[in-house]
């Protein structure tokens, strides 16, 4: 049994019970419905900003983009303006492709040893595909939830809901994004336990957010399609939160509080975890810099003078041999040749 995912699973189950039971205790609704969400949001915002500022405090001393295509050099050679950007425009497009379409993951290959000492590298699209589904469906689900925090609900949200529920299955209509999110999380989890290498590198902190997000999606779906939460009551409650006039609405049910608690935990956990890749991707110096290091000097703020072996010291050591070999020298022979080369700052 793998302790990494067992502990993570247990943690999420404990969190579930905490909210499920806790909300029924006196003051539980206020604690889980008002105090925790506000606290989580504050931790998330401050933590996120703090982390980004902390990263930004460290300079980028060298221009080190990973170049994934032809450089811009001679005018008749076509350069890869996106994968090896030679200007800000290219960098922006490269970053958009990376953030929105997971460009680098799209390249993924799977290496296999074949009989007769052959090695093959096949295009491996599944990780890319499910990661893309995961991020996009999560984003859509999140965006859809704005309907609980806006009055009236903006037209674009209503349109999105229409698109998301275009299958028109069941009542309330099935939202594709929720199902996709659950499926993608499941894939990402199965991948972690089924591929030996990925299992080997996976930590508790890799399983925990997966279980948590699974829990969020699961409780959400449970509420929408099965326990049929009182939507009007829920919205009254969330509008209370967002307008800073929190009040408890009766009868939204325990699952709602569990859902809210899971989201709160995810928010509070976010800044201290690998989920910070959301911010970090924008600050990755191998992706967000143009390959212009020979065109324009990149300045290192902490560049300091170093000890070097000067030409003078070099010639002093080898002068005799240089003259003998007919190599030009700065100074002709002096009577004494220093044994140790002199060095200067």
């Amino acid at each position: 049994m793998n302790i990494s995912y067992m502990y993570s699973l247990i943690a999420v189950v404990v969190l579930f019970l905490l909210a499920y039971v806790g909300v029924k205790l006196p003051g539980g609704e206020v604690f889980f419905g008002v105090i925790i969400p506000y606290l989580a949001l504050i931790i998330f915002v401050l933590g996120f900003v703090n982390r980004v500022i902390d990263w930004a405090r460290s300079p980028v001393p060298f221009r080190i983009p990973t170049t994934c295509g032809q450089q811009k050099s001679l005018p008749w050679i076509k350069s890869a303006s996106i994968d090896n950007p030679s200007g800000t425009g290219g960098v922006i497009v490269r970053m958009i492709l990376e953030v929105v379409f997971l460009r680098s993951l799209f390249r993924n290959t799977k290496c296999e040893l074949k009989a007769g000492d052959k090695i093959s590298y096949e295009w491996e699209k599944w990780l890319w595909l499910f990661s893309l589904i995961f991020h996009w469906s999560f984003f859509i689900v999140l965006f859809r939830h704005l309907r609980f925090f806006t009055e009236p609900v903006p037209a674009c949200l209503q349109l999105l809901e229409k698109l998301d529920g275009f299958l028109q299955i069941g009542l309330p209509g099935l939202m594709l994004s929720g199902v996709a999110l659950l499926a993608a999380v499941t894939f990402l989890f199965l991948r972690r336990i089924l591929i030996p290498q990925v299992k080997y590198i996976s930590l508790g902190s890799d399983y925990f957010p997966l279980f948590l997000i699974f829990g969020i999606a699961f409780t959400g779906i449970l509420m929408r399609y099965f326990t049929k939460v009182d939507i009007v009551g829920a919205k009254a409650f969330t509008m209370g939160l967002v307008t800073l006039k929190p009040h408890i609405t009766e009868g939204v049910g325990s699952v709602f509080y569990v859902h809210l608690f899971f989201v709160s935990v995810l928010l509070a956990y976010f800044p201290f975890s690998k989920l910070m890749h959301l911010g970090g991707i924008f600050m990755s110096p191998t992706r967000n810099l143009a390959n212009t290091s020979r065109v324009k000097r990149h300045v290192n703020p902490w560049n300091y003078p170093v000890k070097i072996h000067t030409y003078e010291a070099y010639e002093d050591e080898f002068r005799e041999k240089m003259i003998e070999a007919g190599l030009p020298v700065e100074k002709m022979m002096e009577p004494e040749t220093p044994e140790e080369p002199e060095e200067k700052e």
Partner: protein
């Protein structure tokens, strides 16, 4: 030295199934054939590196300074504050595993700690423990919890693991191409090696070249007179092959251009033939167009093993290029065929040792082409320079002299992923030889595989490691050898020329290794040359097999 297993044995030993014990519970086993010897204390002392001492990696006791943990911890903090790359890369990895099977050392060994993600986790685990809030809080609950979040304390075992695996990475950046956040293991290895150097841990194949380079101007420790001797020897070879006397100049003040190339080209076959190629090209240009270039014995190294030691050491060695250019009063610099040399020149030199305001923006004196892409650093890659010459029809070439070659091209890691020099060398090759074949698409250009011995790992005692790491590249060579009859692997890197010679000899012995400018030299028709009967290796040219070339 240990016995290196036979190729089929090595191949069939590759097992991608990770061990049953977790990586934190699997203690490091420093194996013969994989590790490189410790740095010679004299070399460390020569360049003023701390804690120079005799130590042996397979000994229990590494004679570490008493406060080594403190030194590492302080050094780690400093580097987090100086490099955003390392700070961000420590924090944002999600362990998706996309990098895992991209590393040539993992592909060739199956050792899970050679998965880039795990190599980085070796450092990250200590980072989490020492520098993150979560690590400190959760770590205080108990050791088991620490493990779940991937944190651990730095102890001697961890340190040994760092040393062992950081010298099993060639900083090739292939993983960084596939990482969705661009996490670059090269950065992590560079930083890790810097930390190790703070307590005197290095390998001799890096630190002795560094000391040599510091003193004599080149890694091989060739003194000025010997350097000139070697070149004279090449001049004699050229005269024998072509009948033309070539006279390169050295340390000449007032030359228009300074030429810097890795010393491996002057010293080790088959790089020497590439060097001969440069000499012939420069002579040709001098005769035809009055080209004015000088070599330097002081800046006689393009490569930079300082890069494999620390940022500071890289700067100390690199400084000679600009210093020599300034002293000689040249206008700009051309650099020879070398991989990591060009990463340093392209991405670091101007920042470290610039601005080169005493030089002029490079303009080819022959074609008038302005090398706009090098206008600040003022250093042009010879493949860029030669491609431009060929494009402008400035070279007279007899490509049939390369007809005995079926050529493929190996992109160097550094020039492809740290620069993007992909088309220039291909253009040159296709114009000097008639039979050219690309290796499979997942093994070239930005996805190219390392030779397996880069970043200072080209030693003799770690041959098994080198052959493991060299497998993916050699395997692709084998593919084109079997499919198209390729018999020549060309490259633009001195380390490649040495390393690939060994790995190709081991995996695909029918194929030889060449530099691009060797093929240029072979095809180039020198003014006044006699009928050539042999190539630059003194082997008969196609159709001349029966002629006895004295």
């Amino acid at each position: 030295m240990s016995e290196t297993p036979k190729p089929d044995e090595l191949f069939s030993n590759i097992d991608y199934r990770p061990p049953s014990s977790g990586w934190m519970d699997t203690p490091v086993d420093i194996k013969k054939g994989i590790y490189s010897y410790a740095g010679n204390p004299k070399s460390l002392e020569y360049v003023g590196l701390p804690f120079a001492r005799q130590w042996n990696p397979i000994d229990e006791d590494w004679s570490l300074p008493e406060n080594w943990k403190e030194i590492i911890s302080k050094g780690f903090r400093e580097r987090l504050d100086r490099f955003r790359s390392i700070k961000v890369f420590m924090d944002i990895c999600v362990r998706c595993g996309a990098c895992a099977d991209k590393c040539h050392f993992f592909i060739g060994s199956g050792d899970p700690k050679n998965m880039p993600v795990l190599r980085a986790e070796l450092l990250r685990s200590v980072y989490r423990n020492d520098f993150t809030t979560a690590g400190k809080i959760i770590g205080s609950i108990g050791k088991n919890f620490k493990k779940i979040i991937g944190a651990r304390e730095l102890d001697l075992q961890v340190l040994k693991e760092w040393w062992y695996y950081l010298f099993q990475c060639t900083e090739c950046r292939r993983c960084s191409v596939f990482c969705p956040y661009g996490i670059d293991t090269a950065e992590i290895t560079i930083m890790g090696r810097e930390l190790l150097n703070l307590i005197g841990l290095n390998i001799d194949w890096i630190i002795t070249p560094v000391a040599n380079c510091y003193r004599t101007g080149n890694h091989l420790g060739i003194q000025p007179h010997a350097y000139k001797d070697m070149m004279d020897f090449f001049s004699d070879d050229i005269e024998e092959i072509t009948g033309v006397k070539v006279e390169p100049s050295f340390n000449r003040k007032g030359a228009e251009i300074l030429f810097v190339t890795p010393s491996g080209d002057v010293f080790a076959d088959p790089g020497t033939y590439t060097c001969v190629g440069y000499m012939m090209l420069f002579h040709y240009l001098q005769e035809k167009y009055g080209f004015d270039i000088t070599w330097s014995t002081y800046a006689s190294e393009g490569g930079n093993f300082g890069f494999f030691t620390s940022h500071e050491m890289m700067k100390r060695l690199n400084a000679k290029m600009y210093a020599e250019a300034k002293r000689l009063g040249v206008k700009w610099i051309i650099g020879g065929e070398c991989g990591h040399m060009w990463r340093v020149i392209h991405q670091y030199m101007d920042t470290m040792n610039g601005p080169a305001d005493f030089l002029e923006e490079p303009v080819s004196p022959i074609t008038g082409t302005k090398f706009e892409n090098a206008k600040s650093t003022k250093m042009v890659h010879i493949a860029e320079f030669t491609a431009d010459l060929i494009k402008h029809n400035k070279l007279e070439l007899d490509t049939s002299r390369n007809d005995h070659l079926k050529v493929t091209y190996h992109d160097s890691c550094n020039t492809s992923r740290g620069m993007g020099l992909l088309e220039e060398p291909r253009y040159v090759i296709k114009n000097v030889c008639n039979n050219y074949y690309e290796m499979p698409v997942n093994t070239i250009r930005e996805q190219t595989f390392c030779c397996g011995s880069g970043s200072g790992l080209n030693a003799g005692e770690n041959m098994e490691l080198r052959m493991q790491g060299g497998l993916p590249r050699a395997n692709a060579v084998k593919y084109v050898h079997e499919k198209h009859g390729v018999n020549m692997l060309s490259c633009i890197c001195a380390i490649d020329r040495a390393a690939l010679s060994a790995s190709v000899e081991y995996w695909v012995p029918e194929v030889e290794v060449t530099g691009v400018h060797e093929m240029v030299g072979n095809a180039l028709i020198l003014p006044g040359e006699h009928k050539r009967t042999t190539d630059l290796r003194s082997e008969p040219l196609p159709g001349m097999e029966d002629d006895d070339a004295e």
